[in-house]
């Protein structure tokens, strides 16, 4: 573990935390998966800004309010008591299908991922699912996934109050249009470009209607203070490794 010799003004992770937090503003209950430190930080940031409005629960952590065991998160989703959730994928395609299972032939795969977790349920039921994948490459963002753990869109007769809302990577932020089943680029993170996004994306996507691609806003000074202070400290309780690496904080072993 190396200590950065110079702290950058705004870390790339902080841009994502701010962008995601913007998509969570005003929601009542945000649930975060067990290995999602950046979404977790974004949820904590939203909660710091509106502590009486937005609840945050971290799956698998002892720091949530569940007491019904593993099924409570999924039951809450079924009851409509979760407003936003995060999913990732070994592959994500242009129709927002996610693959958490395998690359190549399912029975003898070239790559095998851990498995679908709760995606094949949560993706259907949580109104605002934000896809999060740090690595933006043609390996991860593909034209068509090899295995659909959970589809981006469903026929009209399939009960589906929820679905994909956006996709955020280390390069940019896409919105998802459920009617057209396509991503539309919303913004590119500072230091990156539309060309880089095009180069690294395996699927076709739309541009903003006015054709102008803005940069993803960076957090202001007050927000940075919140992220690096209370948010980072809460994060260190749940994701110590991440907090130690990014914020130089945490209870490293």
């Amino acid at each position: 573990m190396t200590t950065p010799t110079e702290t950058p003004t705004v870390r790339p992770e902080e841009v994502l935390i701010e962008a995601i937090s913007g998509m969570l503003a005003g929601l009542s209950h945000v649930a975060v998966g067990a290995s999602s430190p950046i979404p977790g930080a974004a949820a904590f940031l939203t909660n710091s800004r509106a502590p009486t409005k937005t609840r945050v629960s971290i799956l698998g952590s002892e720091r949530n309010f569940f007491n019904e065991g593993a099924r409570e998160l999924f039951d809450l989703a079924g009851q409509g008591r979760i407003d936003a959730f995060f999913l990732s994928g070994g592959q994500i395609d242009g129709q927002a299908n996610v693959n958490l299972v395998a690359v190549g032939d399912y029975r003898k795969p070239k790559a095998r991922f851990p498995g679908s977790f709760g995606s094949a349920h949560m993706y259907y039921l949580v109104p605002r699912v934000i896809l999060f994948r740090w690595e933006h490459s043609r390996r991860t963002l593909v034209e068509q996934v090899d295995f659909i753990s959970a589809p981006g869109v469903s026929p009209a007769n399939v009960h589906r109050p929820g679905g994909p809302h956006a996709l955020i990577t280390n390069l940019c932020l896409f919105d998802f249009d459920r009617q057209r089943a396509r991503f539309r680029l919303r913004s590119v993170h500072p230091g990156h470009s539309l060309e880089e996004v095009r180069d690294q994306t395996g699927f076709d996507f739309d541009l903003p209607e006015d054709g102008q691609v803005p940069f993803t806003p960076t957090p202001d000074a007050a927000t940075l203070e919140t992220i690096r202070g209370p948010v980072a400290r809460r994060l260190a309780e749940v994701y110590p490794t991440f907090a130690a690496r990014v914020f130089d904080l945490g209870s490293a072993a």
Partner: protein
């Protein structure tokens, strides 16, 4: 109605080749000491059910050749990376993987808990999971028109295996909020439990602890064994042994390294947590 504690070796002696065993998720009361004893026993063709996912306990059993089927929402080493022996076996095609999704597995256990032949669940339609699961069916909601829903058969494991902080002399087990363990025990034919200690207080008679206690009626046998979750954490007990898990991840990348690990930490006697 007291229960007589036994040894870990005696617990796993009940498990025959081909048994279906439900295992808790990696963050919840895994009995690694029973997994190691199963490997020493040389059991074969196990059908592991991850409730709803599994970690090191499954990776060890798979790597040691004890498993022919895993039915789970995931096998994961969390922040440490991909589960090495699971990944190798899945890629080699030598392990049958029944890929599921967390709430489906829980629904199937809830059906067993209730004594119904199946349960239903929203979601999943259009997922490739359904393509590979002949045992799951898409049917109609009889209370609506044109509303497909997934029907899932009851799942009744032969065994549930878990580790807990404490049991009392009647055989009641303290689990706190880890209620998937209660579901697993109710749904399974038999439940084998290792505990850190056996206490004199009656956990189910005390109204404060009763809610977080698995009643003895669901418990088949108990062994008292310290550090039974090691190298995993035990909620309320100890933290995970990160250094050991990193060592595992390094060794288990190769078959050879994994055999070295097995020899040192499974066959050469039962290890204990080194540092406090």
């Amino acid at each position: 109605m007291d229960i007589t504690p036994t040894s870990v070796e005696s617990l796993v002696s009940q498990v025959e080749d081909g048994a279906m065993i439900a295992l808790p998720p990696q963050y919840s009361n895994c009995s690694l000491v029973m997994a190691r004893a199963l490997i020493r026993r040389g059991v074969r063709d196990l059908h592991l059910v991850g409730v709803p996912q599994m970690g090191l306990h499954a990776d060890l059993l798979i790597g040691a050749g004890c498993v022919s089927v895993v039915e789970t929402a995931a096998v994961t080493m969390g922040e440490y990376g991909l589960a090495p022996r699971f990944t190798a076996a899945a890629k080699a095609g030598t392990l049958k993987v029944l890929d599921g999704t967390c709430p489906a597995i829980l629904t199937q256990l809830q059906a067993s808990e209730k004594g119904t032949p199946f349960g239903v669940l929203r979601g999943m339609i259009g997922s490739d999971l359904l393509k590979h699961r002949d045992d799951w069916k898409v049917g109609e909601n009889p209370f609506a028109e044109n509303d497909p829903i997934v029907y899932l058969p009851a799942l009744k494991p032969d065994f549930t295996m878990m580790h807990a902080l404490k049991a009392d002399r009647e055989g009641n087990i303290w689990l706190g909020v880890r209620r998937e363990l209660m579901l697993m025990a109710r749904a399974s034919a038999a439940t084998l439990v290792t505990v850190e200690e056996i206490v004199d207080e009656n956990l189910i008679a005390d109204p404060v602890t009763a809610a977080g206690t698995l009643p003895a009626i669901y418990v088949s046998a108990i062994a008292e064994v310290a550090d039974g979750a090691w190298p995993y954490a035990l909620p309320g007990g100890y933290r995970e042994d990160e250094a050991h898990l990193r060592e595992y991840m390094t060794l288990a990348q190769t078959e050879e390294g994994f055999q070295t690990y097995l020899q040192r930490f499974v066959f050469d006697g039962e290890p204990r947590v080194a540092a406090e």
